[in-house]
Amino acid sequence: MAPKLGNKFVALCTVALGAMYTTGYVITENHDPVSAHTVPAQSGQSASTDDGGAKPQTTTDSSGNTGASASGSTTKTASTSTSGQSQSQSTSKQKYLDGTYTGSGANDIGTVSVAVTIKSGKISGVQITQCDTHYPEDYIAGLPQEVVALQSYNVNIVTGATKSTEDFAEAVYEALSQAQNPHYVA
């Protein structure tokens, strides 16, 4: 076996690696989607994803969405696509306007996009249209049904897939923000 490297050499290489890492970190900071990313506002506040907390899950009531709009993000592509149903049919009793709405959630593990369908003012279906995360889509496959059952983006965190759940919840939140009925009276 070769003789062990001296401590000084190991320390020098460590410093060199640290310098390379710092350089890479700084260079990628401006076009890194994570650093520019913002999670949906909760009760009128916006927060960064940096703390890794389950922001969308910690809200107590989805009614907190009212009036809140999704913050801008370099990776988000929130858009509304109508499914042919007239939004003018809604009444002030309907929380959401009928149609199909899309939203995306992204963090450092990737992006999840969803299409949320609203019928008669209620969430009737959620489809995961894109799952470009580092983890399999199977992990969050049960969440669309949970959204329909709860009528909220505020789903339970899937154990072992916290960040994928956050992406999903954020995507649904964004879609629901688009679907908000401005005339809704609780």
Partner: protein, 291 residues
């Protein structure tokens, strides 16, 4: 009688001290420490059960092989290391039977896919890679402490450096990490990479944690990585290049494992060549065993 008992006790103590001073004993201790620290996070706590299942499976399989082959030792410290790594990489949500299958694939690979007495692939890396493609097994790499506050990376770095120092693999770890960082910088400057897996992501928590964990605890596996410093540097660079290429082109979870597997095949090939086999023959020998 008392003298005999004292002698036996002294021998046992010496044996125990010797075991914990071995590279594998060292790795076992550091991985257990990482598991305990990682279990601070409630979401990862159930991962301890995954570790117990994978370690138990690895020990049972290795013991069975040892009995069948009439080895002197039935306890497999290598099996314990493989089980620990697998348990710390697999998601805590992995079903118990999948954990057993993945561990079995990894442990059996070292008994089947080998040249002489040395396995070709890192058992944990091979098990995880095969499982990823066969079962789409989720991997959280919770042992790299990415779920904890960022300063907890110090635990991984200290534990990693202790292990790398013990197994004398600093050149390949430095070559791998250096290559990994430089290639990501180049990719970022050239604006290449998958939209969802940017080079910046790979330099940040949690992705960079998994690269460090792989570099410290899987890349350094003595039987499946070269001993000579020059070969170590090439090995580290090959793993880095292949890993980053896969990451940039496809993203996903498998890039580090594919890089490691390619590096392992390269090591087996160079070992074969060192024994006087022509390059093409050596490669075909290795590929024949793999296939």
């Amino acid at each position: 009688m008392n003298n005999q008992e004292n002698q036996q006790r002294t021998l046992k103590q010496a044996h125990r001290q010797t075991f914990w001073n071995t590279p594998k004993g060292y790795v076992i201790i550091t991985l257990v420490v990482l598991m305990i620290v990682g279990a601070v996070k409630a979401a990862d706590r159930s991962g301890v059960i995954t570790v117990i299942i994978s370690v138990a499976t690895a020990l049972v399989i290795d013991s069975a092989v040892a009995i069948a082959r009439r080895y002197k030792r039935y306890f497999s410290d290598g099996g314990a290391v493989t089980g620990l790594i697998l348990g710390l990489v697999l998601s805590s949500a992995t079903p118990w039977y999948i954990t057993i299958i993945v561990t079995a694939i990894g442990v059996l690979s070292k008994h089947v896919l080998k040249i002489g007495r040395k396995p070709i692939f890192n058992p944990a890396g091979f098990g995880l890679l095969v499982a990823l493609f066969l079962f789409k097994t989720g991997q959280s790499w919770w042992g790299d402490l990415a779920d904890l506050p960022i300063w907890c990376i110090v635990f991984v770095l200290v534990a990693g450096y202790l292990v790398v120092q013990r197994v004398n693999k600093f050149p390949q770890v430095f070559a791998f990490l250096g290559g990994y960082f430089v290639l990501l910088i180049v990719a970022a400057l050239l604006h290449v990479g998958h939209a969802a897996y940017s080079p910046g992501d790979a330099l940040r928590d949690p992705i960079v944690n998994s690269a460090l964990f792989m570099a410290f605890f899987m890349l350094t596996d003595p039987p499946t990585s070269p001993a000579k410093y020059k070969d170590q540097v090439w090995f580290g660079l090959i793993v880095a290049v292949v890993s980053i290429l896969v990451y940039i082109l496809f993203g996903g979870l498998s890039y580090l494992l594919i890089g490691l597997a390619v590096g392992n095949v390269w090591k087996a090939w160079t070992t074969r060549r060192a024994k006087g086999k022509p390059a093409r023959r050596a490669l075909s020998d290795v590929l024949e065993i793999v296939n």
